[in-house]
Subunit: 265 residues, 2 copies
Amino acid sequence: MTERWMSLERVARLWIVEAGDLIKEALKNPFDIDSKSDPDDLVTEVDRNTEAFFYHKIKENFPDHQFLGEEGVAKELQSLKGTVWIVDPIDGTMNFVHQQVNFSISVGIYEEGKGVVGLVYDVMNGELFHAVRDRGVFLNDRPLKQVTDRSISESILGLNANWLVEDHHQEHEGLVRLAQDCRGTRSYGSAAIEMAYVAADRLDAYISLRLSPWDYAGGAVLLEEAGCKATRLDGEELSMLEKGSMIACKPELHTTIVADYLEKG
Amino acid sequence: MTERWMSLERVARLWIVEAGDLIKEALKNPFDIDSKSDPDDLVTEVDRNTEAFFYHKIKENFPDHQFLGEEGVAKELQSLKGTVWIVDPIDGTMNFVHQQVNFSISVGIYEEGKGVVGLVYDVMNGELFHAVRDRGVFLNDRPLKQVTDRSISESILGLNANWLVEDHHQEHEGLVRLAQDCRGTRSYGSAAIEMAYVAADRLDAYISLRLSPWDYAGGAVLLEEAGCKATRLDGEELSMLEKGSMIACKPELHTTIVADYLEKG
């Protein structure tokens, strides 16, 4: 199986780099920006074109593979049977629109529901995080070193201020306490990059209350290969078909945060 | 005067790039880490060596210039008379230690208290933001386009969660309201980079309650040249000799945030 997964990863890497080049090219000209259900949920023609790029490449080369993407280019997915590509063409669209940096392309390839290839590409900073199941995790072909599990007081957490000022969710008190107890918090505005940062030992945990499968499908494979955990905030398994909360975390710290900050939250 | 400032900037740019190369070299080997007054206030031998690098270069080439740096290589400064170099050898030391990315070198050159050269170098991402008084602001030699002044609801703010969970300061209520009203918040862990991001129109404002002159001396020149403002949270002028709060901001948004969120805070 590993040979097959590595061959899939090679193809996916070619496409993700090509898609990144197309995005950089698109940034040279003005592009249309719309908002979705809420005015802060932005989408651009570049998101849609990038998703279509992946969809057509996959349909052409692997006609029996399934596709799940943020922008709905393919029809909705009902199950994870067979081989499924889960793609976020631009993770961090708000950064893409406002900053033209700090966004990523995320690709996860799943077989019968199991993640076998994960790619997160921080396009403008030129960092491609990549992993094949059972083969470890890499940054631009360099193997990442083993993560260090730190105590809360020495940890840096990816945590958006949004979850601390929105107080109508049950985790609010726990998250405020966590932000007070940790060494520091950061927020980059791309869930996929923040998950890759945990796998690369740049953050100790990343927490979000609302994410979709395309946000975390690629990152979850990176994390598993890095010896980290990615679950719902209650510790339950992530769903690749439904939205939900997520904590990506070093393994011991995961146990502590879920038990001492989230279950009591 | 402009010719003199441009010549100073050319020299400062050579040194800041050389210092960045020395830091990248230092990252290849383990380095000593200490903490200062509080356990989360980290300092490394790389911070100290980088500050000494600037101090000796300046003393050798400009013996009559004054020097103010974070690590106390020079004796404490009593006034801003003459030409003063204000240097943060590594802004974002916590990122430097934990991530080995997302830190910067900040250099501000002041004449009789007035900022004439500003440099912020995001070492690992290869972005050098630079400005000479009255000559505009640049990123890697490309002039930055004019900033866009947005409403609060369309703005992205650099604001660390720390200020939202520490509730014993008078701005707490105002900052929580601001975080609720804006489009999104980010936190990168380097004040100098976040100020440069405002000048580059990647953030609309950056707010911190506790900074030192070396954190903002370089960024303040970038902001002035970008047509933005950098003041204390009460709107008063920044001091280059004393610590304090800071808001770096687009001009109209600055008026709104100070009047509607901070003075009422």
